[in-house]
């Protein structure tokens, strides 16, 4: 009798497994075929919107890790000294930590404002509330969405240049594909020589300048900007600096590696760009060095932020080749 029940149980399990395998294969096929407005993509976007508030919980984990590190450092100090000072310093430490947190935050926001002034940007500041949950995609979630005027396709900037583009927007949050994502592609040009190409992300985390004509000369230290071609990224914004040129342009093996000007993994505040004025072509040397000094004019003309969803489709499509 027991065996009979087990047989039935196994048979049902096999049927369920078969149905689920078929469902999985169908879903993969549909996902690959359908566009970004297909039902599975929409379901995925809906899930992102639902989970955005939950992901904010995780943003405190980074701070907790730093605090733990500090605690370990304290534990290695002389115990007697620590005991004598602990009570006296407890309250002050708490206040100081809080003040330091405010200071760092204000510094970051000031940098963002400074950047807004330089580029005469119109946009909205946002906090990073979530990061990619899988290793295959480089994305961040921001706490601004359609209610703040954010639409797919808008350029997103950190304190020292472009970091990515809005891929999805829900009422109160948005998902940004970072430039370092392998599926990301942005039309770019070298500031000094005006050579054009496409900056792509890669699995190694480096940015590579591709589709550059073989006779164009690109050297280490060249500044790379968005070119605005394709209309998906605002023109003239800083992407990074050429740090390495490998291979030979003549035989098609040249690889131009571009270093972004900031470490995206530690970003907490960013700006979603609605539009930039004429001065979007102004690049300051200090932005490359991390200090503050003169500005240099790079190019003329103006370019809108590409806030339409069409721009989004052009700029953040999985193939990333549209900018070409």
């Amino acid at each position: 009798m027991q065996l009979s029940f087990q047989d039935t149980d196994h048979r049902i399990s096999r049927i369920i497994a078969g149905v689920l395998i078929a469902a999985g294969i169908i879903m993969i096929a549909v996902y690959a075929i359908e566009g970004s407005s297909g039902p599975l993509h929409r379901l995925q976007q809906g899930m992102h919107a639902v989970m955005a508030p939950v992901e904010t919980v995780g943003s405190g984990i980074g701070a907790a890790a730093d605090a733990a590190e500090e605690a370990v450092a304290d534990a290695t100090a002389d115990e007697a000294t620590l005991t004598a000072l602990r009570d006296r310093n407890a309250e002050l430490t708490q206040l100081l930590t809080q003040a330091e947190e405010y200071r760092l935050e204000s510094e970051r926001l000031r940098e963002l404002l400074e950047l807004k002034d330089i580029y005469k940007l119109e946009g909205v500041s946002a906090r990073v509330i979530g990061r990619s949950t899988d290793a295959w995609n480089q994305t961040i979630t921001l706490d601004v969405g359609e209610e703040d005027g954010v639409t797919p396709g808008l350029t997103v900037m950190g304190p020292a240049g472009v970091i990515g583009q809005v891929m999805e927007a829900s009422p109160s949050s948005c998902l940004v594909r970072l430039l370092t994502d392998p599926n990301s592609g942005v039309a770019a040009q070298v500031q000094s020589s005006r050579v054009e190409g496409i900056v792509r992300g890669s699995l190694t985390g480096a940015l590579e300048l591709e589709n550059v004509s073989a006779d164009a000369e690109v050297v280490q230290g060249d500044v790379v900007l968005t070119s605005g071609l394709g209309g998906s990224f605002t023109k003239g914004l800083l992407i990074g600096t050429v740090v390495r040129v490998e291979g030979n342009a003549k035989d098609g093996t040249r690889v131009i590696v571009v270093a972004p000007n900031q470490d995206v993994s530690s970003l907490e505040e960013v700006t979603v760009v609605f539009s930039a004025s004429e001065s979007a072509r102004i690049i300051r040397k200090d932005m490359l060095d991390g200090g503050a000094s003169d500005a240099t004019q790079a190019d003329g003309g103006s370019q809108d932020g590409g806030g339409s969803s069409d721009g989004a489709d052009a700029g953040t499509d999985a193939q990333g080749g549209e900018d070409a």
């Binding site: 879903m27 939950v54 995780g58 980074g62 990619s132 699995l203």
Partner: protein
């Protein structure tokens, strides 16, 4: 039996939440742990039942929906991996830790390699070799560590109670 299902469901929900909230901050270089997958496969290995199929599929589907990869990819692979693990344990299991652990490691390797194939087939703009080198292998290593931490915990929680042992011996 209901308690086991309750534990399976609760564990799956916690694993998915950890994947959404904690995993992004546990990145080591290019590797990010797939806590959801590690739980699903560790559970499949630790469970005495041989019909753990729905939970791995749903956990994999949740992972797909949380991320930006092809929906259904991880769901399908997690289900196939769970079936593989249970088949390996049914065939070679001898009550020790070795067979389940080896099955988990093999299954995780296959899942990560096949997921790279699914991603590159579904439009990821990278070569398969690059994907295997820079994503699959680091992810496999990280997932293995996560699964090897989770597996003994599940096995502990699923250990037969003394009353259950008695009933089993009577039947």
């Amino acid at each position: 039996m209901m308690a086991v299902f309750g534990m399976e469901t609760a564990g799956a929900v916690i694993a998915v939440l950890l994947q959404a909230i904690v995993a992004p901050y546990l990145a080591i270089g290019p590797a990010l742990p797939n806590i959801a997958l590690a739980f699903a496969l560790a559970y499949a290995a630790a469970s005495q039942r041989t019909n753990v199929v729905i939970m791995p599929f749903l956990v994999g589907l949740a992972y797909d929906l949380l991320g930006s990869g092809p929906v259904g990819g991880m769901a399908l692979l997690a289900l196939l991996a769970a079936i593989l693990i249970q088949a390996l344990i049914a065939r070679f299991g001898n009550g020790t830790f070795f067979v389940p652990v080896a099955s988990i490691v093999i299954a995780l390797f296959l899942v990560n390699v096949l997921y790279a194939l699914v991603c590159t087939t579904c439009g990821a703009d990278v070569g398969l070799g690059e994907a295997l080198l820079y994503r699959s292998l680091p992810a496999w290593a990280y997932d293995t560590v996560a699964a090897l931490v989770i597996y003994p915990l599940i096995r502990f929680f699923l250990r037969p109670k003394p009353q259950e042992l008695d009933l089993t011996s009577i039947s």
